[in-house]
Symmetry: T
Subunit: 68 residues, 12 copies
């Protein structure tokens, strides 16, 4: 069968790590989007305060299957 | 008058051809989105099984006019 | 706290200027989207009629914060 | 001998397929340009009407040899 | 009917604004090219003299329909 | 289990269509590579002779799983 | 004679327009950099407050000649 | 002496982290490739199951020196 | 008020992780640059020795505010 | 005064060097185009025969001023 | 007949020139790869020692025909 | 030990060759920057006068190690 997928673009942030910023974005999206299947990283950024990274901010595209 | 358009990104799939994968994505979107006006191809991929393309998967951006 | 942002892609148009096309896209989006915080320009185009620009068309990504 | 080539950029359209849009652009160019030797695809787009692709529009670069 | 379009790349300049540099390029092209229909911005540059922008220079692609 | 994949880049050609050029590249690779799983299109080109496309040439990346 | 140029990357901001954001960046740089000769736009962004653009933010590269 | 290097492209996966996906790809390659000297990240992706990242998938290019 | 920002490009390295390579670059820059506000990742690389990553090397752009 | 420039894209070839391929393209263009002012390299390629480069092929954009 | 080509990516180095770095990569590849037909430049780099280029390093893709 | 590197972007020019334009940029930078280790080419351009290249202009990024 021919599935169709939609992509949304999200930016997650985390004070811990770049990987955790991705996990946070996906966890948040999971509260309203079903059938998420993959992500890919679009951009990795962050905020600096007093010479250290305060927030990791990672922009991802998330693909999810549309109901048939 | 100054129209405003929104873009959504979809991946359609087809066992037949890359063009048909695009048609399938648009046909699916048409069940919930009105005023679609154009698309452009972002990425063309596919799944391989036993040495042949099993699914063509084409990612497109679709632009549609927002109601004034 | 770790905020999450979503991006949407819009094309605004204007007969006046490229900056105004951006303003029009954002003003339209503001009627349905809350907490918009930034935009970035993806593409600047336009329609030509009788040797002058008739419509400026600017495609932007808009980022807005998702409710916690 | 050291040949020199020039490139032109064309957009062909077709109601049938993306491949045919390319063929149409090349056929049209052939009425005025000689010694065309290759093309490469720059962009694939299309117009949508009532939920189906009405026009396939493919932008190509065409290279042709300049007369020595 | 299946129209074919050709693209040309131009750089317009203006002492006033980046939008005016585009208008100047299109106005100049209009003296020799018919059926121009759209443009898109490729690059925005400028010359600086004594700490201010003296010339805005915008490179655009212009698409025009070839006679059938 | 954590699979590892390798990518190879191929250009297939066909006198018939761009899709068939992809199929030809994959069929050829299948004679020496096992466990091919996906491809993505890198570039679409072609040769022109007497105003028509003689060869469609599509460059793809093919991913295959390395034996554990 | 063979001049050598150095490039710096700046982001200017303005409440008025995208062109003015560029002018502001160059005016600021002119207080410490001599022999600036050109700029090119790298990115155009902005901050949104209450549905309108509050700050235009344009990132440019500026080239200046090194003293011989 | 003038060394020559070859590049291969690999996708590693890991349930733990994006860095570990890279380590897994390199460890696997080390079983058959000698003289690997550097890598660079081409793409970072992942699979999502039930609202969390199940597999991190990182595509890298690996450069290794060819024997003289 | 209209702030102006300057960007510098740095490569940090770390034997531990890609995130730590970023932290190291920022910590080093903080010894001579004030008002750093954000970074974005340009490139992620590394050195390989005996089949494992020895150094993570991440190139970032760092933006800092110029004194008014 | 506000000059307008047009760009053309050429591929020059040479059996000697990549620089000479550029010179050949410009020398050929000079026989029919006036007021050429700059070029930039788009792509550097070549043909290989019996393990050596037989032709260097460099694609350039050439900008020339349109008569006022 | 429909030929299939494979691409490999190599970095050649030379103390003499960027062109010679390409020649060295191709000469080395020719000792193990047959039917090489073209290359294109992916990246040009180099090592600096005491203020001069010590090694030119050019990364190329090389295409060769697979035996039918 | 974890070294940190900074990148600067320069454009060198030469009447002789594209390689010499790079050498000139590096020689100039060497009068004020220590510990330069590598460069990579960003852009190759040139000025044309009377149908020949008058100046080769090559933009490079240069990386140098920051003192520990």
């Amino acid at each position: 069968m021919d599935h169709i997928y939609k992509h949304i673009e999200l930016t997650g942030s985390s004070t811990e790590s770049s990987d955790q910023a991705i996990q946070n974005a996906i966890a948040k999206a999971a509260t309203s989007v079903k059938y998420m299947q993959w992500f890919n990283v679009v951009d990795t950024r962050g905020n600096i305060e007093e010479g250290v990274v305060k927030y990791w901010q990672v922009t991802i595209k998330v693909g999810f299957r549309l109901k048939d």
